[in-house]
Structures are given as C-alpha cells and as structure tokens.
Subunit: 497 residues, 2 copies
C-alpha cells in the first residue's frame, strides 16, 4: 500500500514506524507487528521494522518514521513509499531451531544478531531467543559464534597502541559497594598500563561504576573523545552505553533485565564481546561468590573454566579470580557515598574502608603480574606502593579532569536517619540482595546523594545505642519506605552478645 512519509521527531534509538489505526487494520498489522517499507525508486531500498499504531498522530495516507528509519532509508517528508505486512524474518527460523534444541551455526547466529540490531525482530521475538538459550543452552562453539556476532554488530576501539599493555577488568555484579574499578584503573594506569575502561549504569543495583563516576565527572563520550582521553591519561572511566560498541548486547540485555533471566551463553558473550571491543590484550575477571551473591562457588568455578576457554580461543591473556562475595564491600552504598569511599582509599585516609582497599590491591596486583609489570608474587606489594605514594590519586585526578570533572561538590541527601543497636550485639549476616533493594528504595541511582552507610561488617560488634547503619534520602516518603523495609526484611542480622 502506497503511503506518504511523515517525519516524526521521535526516536527510540532504533528504526521504528507509526501507522494510523485504520491503515494498520487494512494492512493487517497490529501494534508491535512488523511492516516492510520500500522506497519506490528504480533501485528500491527496504527494511522490515516494528510498527506502532496511533489514532491521531498519523493520517490514513501516511506512515510516520523515526529519525533512525529516516536516516536508514534516506527518506524525506512527503515522499511516497510502499508499506506492506512483512513476512517473518529468516532469523525466526533459527530461533525456532534453537527452541527445538538444535545447535546453531555462525551464519545463523549472525542472522539473529543482525536482525536484533536492525529492529527486524520484536521484543517478543528476542524474548523467545533468550528463553530458548535459557531452556536449551548453547555449547562453547555457539557461545563463540555469539561473541563474534555481537562484536561485529558494533564499533571497536582502535587505540593504535601496538606496543602498549592494554588491559581490562570485569567484576560480575551483585555485591553492593564493590566499587574497586576506579581504584584499580588509577593504580594500573599509574603503573603504565593502558586501561580504556567502560562500565555500566545500575539497572537493579543502587549504583553502577558509571553512576558513581558521574557524581564528579562526565561519563558519556563518543568513541573519538574516549580515544583522546585514553591517549592523554592512559585510561578512562566512562559509561559503555554511549559508545555503540556492542549495540546487539545492549538490546538483548535490556530484554533480559525485563524478563530477569540471564542465559549463561549471553552472560559470557556480553562480557567477552565488550572486553574484546576494548582492544585489551590482558583481561582480568573477578567472580564474587557466596550465599547472597549472584553465583555460588560451584557455578563460579564453572564460569571460570568457560572464561578461560574463551580467553584462549580469542588469543588473550585472561585470568579469572574467585573472590568472597558474602557481604557488601566498603561503607557507602549509593553513587555519592561510594565515591567518598573511593576518595578515602585513594588518599590513604585513616578511615578508608580496608576491605575495599584490600580487594582493589589484590585485583590490581593480579593485573600488574599478568602484564609483567610486577614479578610473580610482587603484584600486591607494587600496587600498595603506587597507592601509598599518592601516584594512584594523582592518576585518578588526571582522568577525572580529562573527563571534565573535579573532586569537589559532594553533597549527601537532605534526610538522614541513624539506625542504632537496641542492645549489645554482633553482625551475623548481611544480605547483599536485600541491601541492594534497600539502596534502591532510598532513591538510588536516580538520587545520587541518597544511599546507605554501613558502619561495620559481618563479625562487627555494637554496644547498645551504637550506630549500625545510616539511611540517606531526598524525600520523607522514601525514608519512611526505607525504614519500613529495613525493619521488615532485616538485611542485617544481629545476634545478642
């Protein structure tokens, strides 16, 4: 059916079209259905895309297109195009194949990932792909295909630093306050490693590394700007989402988060494709395990093997370390509270959280040894020297300055409530998941200055009346909700002394 193009100044980050309800009925397409839009020129160009339906925004003889679709097909307002119900893309056949437990080829995985990026697959179809990976699993070959496909769906960093030691690290999430990245990056860059580190924002946690750094600096840069920062300082601490390095991964992850299922192949592919896109030769992966961590020790060991296999396949020096993830790390939870912890560790302040310092030194030491900067067994020592000498702090300031930030301007939230010990007692357990939920309830990561301050860790003792935790919020309602959650869900379990 021939329709006139209307340009909607509307973007969803993906090519998308909108039809009038009556036109959609005629074509036989429903909301989130798929149409094929074809230009009428001699060499027609076309794309299969998901459609939205409107009652008044679009006329019956029109098809409204997003800015992405306009660019994709080089459309102009008023131009006539042919719009028809689109047949199912070929990739759906491959998704069905996976649903039936068959093994996919590189070509088939590529086709699926291409259609994810092109928006030729709807959210529901991507959900089917995710659930089929979850139900039937993917073997290591398929996982490698997935990594290749995701990697080639986007841009990669070209730092042109052939003779430099480019390194990257990743921690599996789930542990509140586990903000070692800025410290490790500062120490390792001060030691001469190149660390183009991109991180994520929090989706379900109170803060991601990108949210934390954003309290003092910009974190959204183009690939070109990022390359400039890395060339200047040897490192960066930016948000990966702004880079378009792995658009397929971004899209799949957003649906995984919605469904709250996380197939292992996609977890491996997501991490590996980002590390490969960063151009790192040396990759350190930290898997915290524990009762309320994301994974158990058994699962962590399984993942370790797989990461090591993938590291070999992609010719990387890759090391996996398993760390205890039984409780939160550091004192602050929430973007501002966590950057305060980081500053304390970097300035070797007396009240710096020692667990955060220790874990950062351990991981830095591993990277220094892997890259040959430190001799075997000397990594932690070297890291501690760099930290204690003030060189890491200087490097951190340099990176923050390059990201147009500065270390001042830290303000905690308006409302504050101390929770104190009712009697002499001792912490038996701190539940990571419940602490994460409590952090979200305080308003994080939206309210950067909200969050929690934990005074002690498991084993810590309180006298009656001593502070256990302080809750920070920007609104009274959130404070009420947080206190209610704390007393009902008991994220910190105490035993009388």
């Amino acid at each position: 059916m021939e329709l006139k193009v209307k340009i909607l100044r509307w973007s969803a980050g993906i090519p998308v079209a909108m039809l009038n309800e009556d036109t959609a009925n005629l074509i036989g397409v429903k909301t989130k259905g798929r149409i094929f839009i074809k230009t009428l020129s001699k060499n027609p160009d076309g794309i299969s895309t998901i459609v939205d339906i409107a009652k008044t925004l679009v006329r019956k003889n029109e098809v409204a297109v997003s800015s992405e679709l306009k660019e994709r097909l080089n459309l102009s307002a008023g131009q006539r195009v042919d719009v028809d119900l689109s047949s199912t893309p070929k990739s759906m056949i491959f998704i069905k194949k996976k649903m039936n437990g068959k093994v996919l080829s590189q070509v088939e995985v590529n086709e699926i990932i291409k259609d994810v990026v092109d928006n030729s697959l709807s959210d529901a179809e991507i959900a089917l792909f995710i659930s089929s990976m979850y139900e039937k699993g993917m073997n290591m070959k398929e996982t490698i295909y997935l990594i290749n496909a995701i990697l080639h769906s986007g841009k990669t960093l070209r730092l042109n630093l052939k003779h430099k030691l480019v390194a990257d690290k990743h921690s599996i999430g789930g542990i509140p306050g586990n903000r070692t990245t800025p410290i490790i990056v500062s120490i390792c860059a001060a030691a001469g490693l190149v660390m183009p580190k991109s991180s994520s924002r929090a989706i379900t946690a109170p803060a991601g590394t990108a949210d934390v750094i954003e309290t003092i600096a910009k974190v959204e840069f183009s690939l070109k700007e990022l390359e400039k920062i890395v060339k200047k300082t040897g490192a960066c601490l930016i948000w990966g989402g702004s880079l378009e390095i792995v658009p397929a991964d971004e899209k799949i992850i957003s649906i995984e988060k919605m469904l709250n299922i996380d197939p292992e192949a996609q977890l491996l592919a997501s991490i590996m494709s980002k590390k490969l896109a960063s151009g790192a030769k040396y990759i350190l992966i930290d898997i915290p395990y524990g009762k309320t961590a994301k994974v158990t020790r058994g699962k962590a060991l399984e993942l370790k093997k797989k990461f090591e296999y993938l590291g070999k396949h992609f010719h990387k020096i890759l090391k996996v370390v398993l760390t205890r993830g039984d409780e939160p790390i550091g004192n602050g939870i929430g973007p501002v509270l966590e950057i305060i912890d980081i500053k304390k560790v970097l300035s070797c302040s007396k009240d710096a959280p020692q667990d955060l310092r220790k874990k950062s030194l351990f991981l830095s030491g591993e990277l220094l040894e892997m890259t040959g900067k430190a001799k075997k067994g000397q990594g932690i020592k070297m890291a501690a020297q760099i930290l204690d000498s003030g060189k890491a702090l200087a490097k951190f300031k340099e990176i923050i300055k390059a990201q147009k930030g500065n270390l001042n301007h830290l303000k905690l939230a308006k409302f504050k409530k101390d929770i104190t010990a009712a009697r002499d007692s001792k912490i038996v357990e701190i539940d990571n998941k419940k602490i994460n939920s409590l952090g979200r309830i305080t308003g994080c990561p939206l309210d950067k200055s909200a969050g929690l301050y934990l005074y002690k860790h498991v084993g810590g003792k309180f006298q009656k009346g001593e502070k256990i935790i302080t809750i920070y919020t920007e609104s009274k309602t959130r404070m009420r909700d947080a206190i209610k959650f704390y007393s009902e869900q008991k994220p910190i379990i105490l035993k009388n002394n």
Copy 2:
C-alpha cells in the same frame, strides 16, 4: 520522580506512557520497560505500565499518557504524578514457575491474564509466557483455569434468550476457501436456532470470515448493536475483535501470531472462551485434518478428546467433527471471490461449488441434530430442504440487511491472468499452505477483490489449454510476484494424463 501529566491524543488500545529520553535515563527505564505512575492525592491510585521513550514529543518534566491511561487513572493535563521504575509484577513469578515446569493454580493464571489485559506485562514477558506454555505444556486443569481467566477478562453476551436454542460453531483454520460459516448460520437461523456468530479476520490467510462478509456489509459492531441484530434476525456474522469479549485472548494471539507458535492450551482456551462468551449452549467444532492442513489426523483426534472434556466441564452440548482438509474448498479464494461462492451456494445456482455446499450441509445437519431440530440421521436432509427452499438465502439477506449491507456491488480486481494446462493433465495435489501464500501475494485480504479462482479440485482433469487457475490482482507488481510464486512453488501439482 514528580512529573507533569501531558495528554497525548494517542492510543494503542492499552494503557501506555511516554517519557523524555533524559527523564527515562534518570529513572533508569528503557523503551518498553515498566514504570509505576501514582497520583499524589490522599488516596493515591497507581498503575504499572509499559513506557515508550521520545526525544521531542515530551519534555523532561513531563510524562505523556495515552487516552487509555488517562481514563484509567482519571488524569488531567498538568496534574502532577509520581513516576518511578516499577518492580516486576507478581505474575512474572508465576510465568517463571511455568518455565520451570510447575503446575499453575487458578489464582496464578488469573494474575497473569489480569496483567496481560492491564498492559502490566510487556510483549517480551507475554512471549515468555507463551513459550513456557509451549515448552512445558499445560494440563487440562490449567487449561480450564486459562479459559476461566480469559473469559472473565472481558464482556460476555447477555442475550436473555432463555428458552431459545443458542448455538455456535468453530472451524480450525488453514484450509483456503473453507467459508462454510455464512451458509451454516443462514440455514440454522432459518431453522430457528439462535446463532450469534463472531469471526476473525485473516492474519496469515487470504481471507477470514469477517473479511468476506465485509465485502457486502458492516462487521464491526458494539456488543449492544450486536444484541439488537441477533434479537431481530436470530443471528449475526460479525468481527469478534470489535466486541472486547476476550481482550486477553486478542493480546496473547497477536503475540502468538508474531512468534508463530501456538501452544495447545492457548488454542483450546482461545476457542472455548469465545464460544462460552457467546452464551451458546450447543457448540460444534470442525477440525479439518490432512497433509497440508493445520493438524494431522492423530493430532485432530487428540484435540477432539480435549474439546469434549472441556464441553462437559462447562456443561455444554459440544460435538467435534473431523473433516478432510487435504485441499481448498470451493472455487474462489479471497474476500470477494469467496462471497461469490457463498451466494452461489445460497441461491442454489447450477455452478455453485458442490464441495462447499456439501460441507455446509453436513455441519448444519450436525447442529440441527444436536439441538433436536432434526431427528438423528435427518439433519443433512433438513438442512438441504432449508437451503433448496430459498429460506437460507432469505435469512442471509435479512442478516446482511441488519448489518447495513446488501448483496450487490461485487467487483473483481483490475488485473487478471489465466494459467492454463500445458498438456493434457490431472491434479494430483493442491497444497493448502502454498495456496494461502499465493492468495496473500495477490494482495488479499487488503485488496478485497484480489485472489484466486480454482477451476477444479484434486482428481480434476484438464485438456491442453484448459484453465487451471485465474489470478486476480489490483497491481501489475503483485501479478508478477504471484505468477513467479506459482511457477516456482507449484501449489497445484499436475500429472500428465
């Protein structure tokens, strides 16, 4: 986060909201993610809904709402509301339960269906529900729960015809030209049965009953108008989609069609809930089986048992008949071409397709016997008498008139191409699925006057040069595509004589 309400004159048939990209980033929600909108009054009202993201349509301090959402929360423009990232609805826990192969309770199924209707579940989440039903199956108890839940998600017909014989029929689709419904409804209503028949439009076939009737009459009516038509004529032939009788079913089916998976429990629930909503006491279900039909004979027998079980459970007189579905029925395929066949059968024209007449009489006979209108073994005879007497045609005209239509104004498509036999030959096979695809390529159901005319059925003989099929299209492009498909895919297989 507090935002100002903006009313968007925009409707997707479901409650939906739109945020500015920056606001969405702050809240941490992505396109198709879920937000919770809460009014700020003393007794706040709230809803969890799916969000779209715009760059320019909505300002940073605004949340734009669809007309459905405006009505749902009784919102007015400029009003302030609290908008936050919404937690996963409880129903997702039950969907996960099904994914893990567990059996769901009535309460759990109700919760899922309620969230489907409320738009609290995204397309991706509904896809997960569908794939979990497909992967793990649902037992008969769960199927009954599903029917109850879907039935109670919408309105039901209240015809208040206690002493009347209300009957309904359903044919499993997939056979091109299988347009018995208008003939059966006319015969049975002429015999005194009440037949409030609602049908679907085609989604993947060239025509659905609603598309066919729409060539000569209106098919979209409100429940109230429909009750009026049925009271006046004893029957109707309308499009079910306009009635809101089973909104949950509509939504689930639209995603099933997209995914092209059709879990059996949902198939049973979809048909049964519509039949129950129509208020019928007598239900006839026709399952055509065959090599290129939707189901094999084995599967048809399995479905028959399940339908009979459900009929008993819901205290209905329900009969399932298995019919041969090896090839198309009638000569015309496409809305106008099919209504021409129907008119010929109803007017007992000499060139009426006898297979369509025979099947319609058979199914009518079954209904007449089930309801006691005809004695056992006399149903077909009685149906034939009604048809041959002209009473069925008169009833059909009455229904069409009540639906503001008339029998004239039938026009075939502009372009026409006869395909003739290259030599003396005989039809060995006609592939239902390929004929359906060919019909779609001609432009059906969008172009109502496009389609196919089959001159003979399996076993039919041609002399060299005799017409096998005529293709009708409204555009030369479509004709070219259709001829190409015909010669490449060979929907009609001939053997030399």
